[in-house]
């Protein structure tokens, strides 16, 4: 038996700022030498993994006589880290730095570092190019806004003058709504410019957060009072000007945030409101009936027989609404002894007895169909498996790559649509947008309309649209069979996020994954 052996000398030398993917070598430790960059010396270091697992990043001032040192600031990732990221902030020392990354051999990781600073000193006059670098994936970020200010110094050793506003790259909130879905891991600020006096409504979904708008001030007056935090749904009444919006999370996670000027609120939820109005009319009619009953002040009786159990409900001024319920399936017979008409509302909830793989398709505003394309060798056509009947069995082998194709037909223009495609438990989604994604993660088909956001979760892939017009849309992504066994593949479902009555589902299916021989 031969035994591998590796030998190397010196650490890898990197630039003053970078973001790059590496693969952990067989030593299980990688060392990087970051040269001294003077005023722009990196002070922010970030280690990212595509999947959570044990990893550590350590940053120390480089000592030529002790390049294998194990001192310095460190941060770790473990199997439960969400997101799988370790960051080190504010490492202010000067000189070259040694970055040591430790993790399982053969696994990919992304190392990013740069000088994170709110203030830069310029001692030579002239033109400068200012740009910003962002940590992590841009699609997980809220987007950067910035206000540029200047403080002049009186001579080389003199005092700094007052702070002057120079320029800004901020969120302009006029009459159009603003919507972002992003990772809220810490308190964040966003600069917002309002061209006129307006009302802004902040609406969120996902993790719980609170909000505060403050006018942008280079220095606060002595009697300045910080406005109180507000919850989602609050309408901020704001004058024209530049504001700082602070978002404070109660828990870390994904936040879906909308800032809605008044016009856009009406426009975007028009369909929802029209339904709400219809429901309101029905409620008002019901209220009229109840008021008339109050006037009569007479108790009405209703006999309710649920199976062999019978009871008489009394409805009157004291008990305008009477409820009864049962957990068992039974025939219900109502016998009214009332002199006046009564209104009865029956609500039934249940879980289907059949497996999810046997679920039939459904269409109430959307029609959803699904097919799987098992990938074969390069330049070979894929095996197409159309799911036309509930319970169709799909046979795969561990390692098979499958392209999911979902077709959604919408009969009307809709706002806020979610198309969720759950996976059988033995399959894992392949996210082509990850820097570490293999070539086979990219589907051959193109998504018809670019989604506002796509969530590649372990158990499902969900496409979100702020607006989805009438028509037929195709969705593609790939999965890999990873665990042998028999699994249920639930229905793919399209629905309006704020009106569950408009929905459509494909059929359920069964997925059999066999072990590789």
């Amino acid at each position: 038996m031969t035994n591998l052996f590796s030998c190397a000398w010196a650490s890898r030398r990197l630039g003053a700022a970078m973001r790059q993917q590496f693969t952990m070598g067989e030593f299980g430790v990688e060392r990087f030498l970051v040269p001294d960059a003077g005023n722009a010396n990196p002070n922010f270091f970030r280690l990212e993994l595509p999947v959570a697992s044990a990893a550590n990043i350590q940053v120390a001032t480089y000592d030529e006589h002790d390049p294998f040192q194990s001192r310095g600031a460190s941060a770790s990732i473990d199997k439960r880290s969400l997101p799988p990221v370790a960051e080190l902030h504010g490492l202010g020392s000067s000189g070259a730095k040694l970055v040591t990354v430790t993790m399982e051999a053969g696994k990919p990781f992304i190392l990013q570092y740069f000088n994170a600073s709110y203030v830069n000193h310029f001692s030579v006059s002239g033109d400068y190019w200012l740009s910003s670098i962002h940590a992590g994936y841009a699609e997980d970020s809220i987007g950067a806004t910035a206000v540029l200010t200047r403080q002049r110094r009186n001579g080389m050793y003199g005092l700094y003058g007052s702070e002057e506003y120079l320029d800004a790259r901020v969120l302009e909130l006029a009459n159009t709504p603003w919507h972002r879905r992003f990772n809220l891991l810490d308190e964040l600020t966003l600069f917002v410019n309002l061209p006129g006096t307006t009302k802004i409504k902040a609406i969120d979904q996902g993790v719980k957060a609170r909000y505060r708008f403050e006018p942008f001030l280079t220095s606060r007056p002595k009697d300045y009072k910080t406005p109180p935090w507000q919850e989602s749904g609050h309408v901020f009444d704001l004058d024209r000007g530049l504001y700082v919006l602070t978002v404070q999370p109660e828990t870390k996670g994904i936040l879906d945030l909308q800032l809605l000027p008044p016009g856009s609120v009406m426009q975007d939820v028009m369909s929802f409101l029209s339904k709400a109005r219809a429901e309101a009319k029905a409620m008002l009619a019901l209220s009229d009936v109840m008021k008339r009953r109050d006037a009569k002040a007479e108790v009405q009786k209703l006999n309710v027989a649920i199976g062999s159990q019978s009871q008489t409900l009394e409805i009157g001024p004291a008990n305008k609404i009477v409820q009864t319920s049962t957990n068992s399936p039974a025939k219900i017979v109502l016998r009214s002894e009332a002199r006046l008409p009564l209104i009865v509302r029956a609500e039934t909830s249940y879980l289907p007895q059949a497996l999810g793989s046997e679920a039939p398709s459904g269409a109430s505003g959307f029609v959803v169909t699904r097919e799987l394309l098992r990938q074969r060798g390069r330049n070979e056509p894929a095996d197409k498996m159309v799911l036309s009947k509930p319970g169709t069995a799909i046979h795969l082998t561990v390692g098979d790559v499958v392209e999911e194709h979902v077709e959604v037909t919408s009969n009307a223009n809709h706002h806020y649509v979610a198309i969720a495609v759950p996976l059988a438990a033995g399959l894992e989604p392949l996210n082509p947008k990850l820097a570490t994604a293999p070539a086979e993660a990219t589907p051959s088909g193109n998504i018809t309309a670019t989604p506002s956001y796509v969530a590649y979760m372990d158990d499902q892939v969900t496409f979100y649209y702020d607006a989805l017009p009438k028509g037929t849309f195709h969705f593609y992504f790939r999965t890999r069979a990873t665990v042998p066994g028999q699994f249920t593949q639930p229905q793919a479902r399209a629905e309006l996020m704020y009106d569950g009555a408009v929905h459509g589902e494909s059929v359920g299916a069964r997925v059999d994954v066999s072990a590789k021989e």
Binding site: M1, T2, N3, L4, F5, S6, C7, A8, W9, A10, S11, R12, R13, M24, G25, E26, F27, G28, V29, E64, H65, D66, P67, F68, M103, E104, A105, G106
Partner: protein, 148 residues
Amino acid sequence: MAGAGSIVGEPGKQDGRLDLFLDRGEYKILTYASAKGSGQAKLSVHAFRWLQDRPPLLVEQRLERATLDDFEQRSYWLEVKEKHTVAIEAAGRHLSDLRLWRDGTWLVNVDPQLVISQARADHPLQIARFTAQLEPGLYLVTAYGGQS
């Protein structure tokens, strides 16, 4: 004359094995039985086998990959053009020692730090690393195989 070396092995539990750099001369090997021990003891001497006739040059920051088994040794030339500190790290399942030889003949007084890496849970690796401040010249880095 270096005097008596250390005693290795434990009767009934572990064979004794010594991996030594020996200069030209005569050496005496003493074997000890346990208090109640009797029978035959087996003694063998192995020379480490050179794996290359011409060791390659070790290039800064470039990882070299090869094989190394028990009773084998693999070397790389290291050229130091000006006085500075070098850091060398090697890993292997059967790696037991890593040494530096000035001009390939004089052993430099640097002891490697030996650690076990769990970079792959099912394949523990022996890692040997050292740091040395070296004068300009040619050095031979030699890795020695041992029991895994």
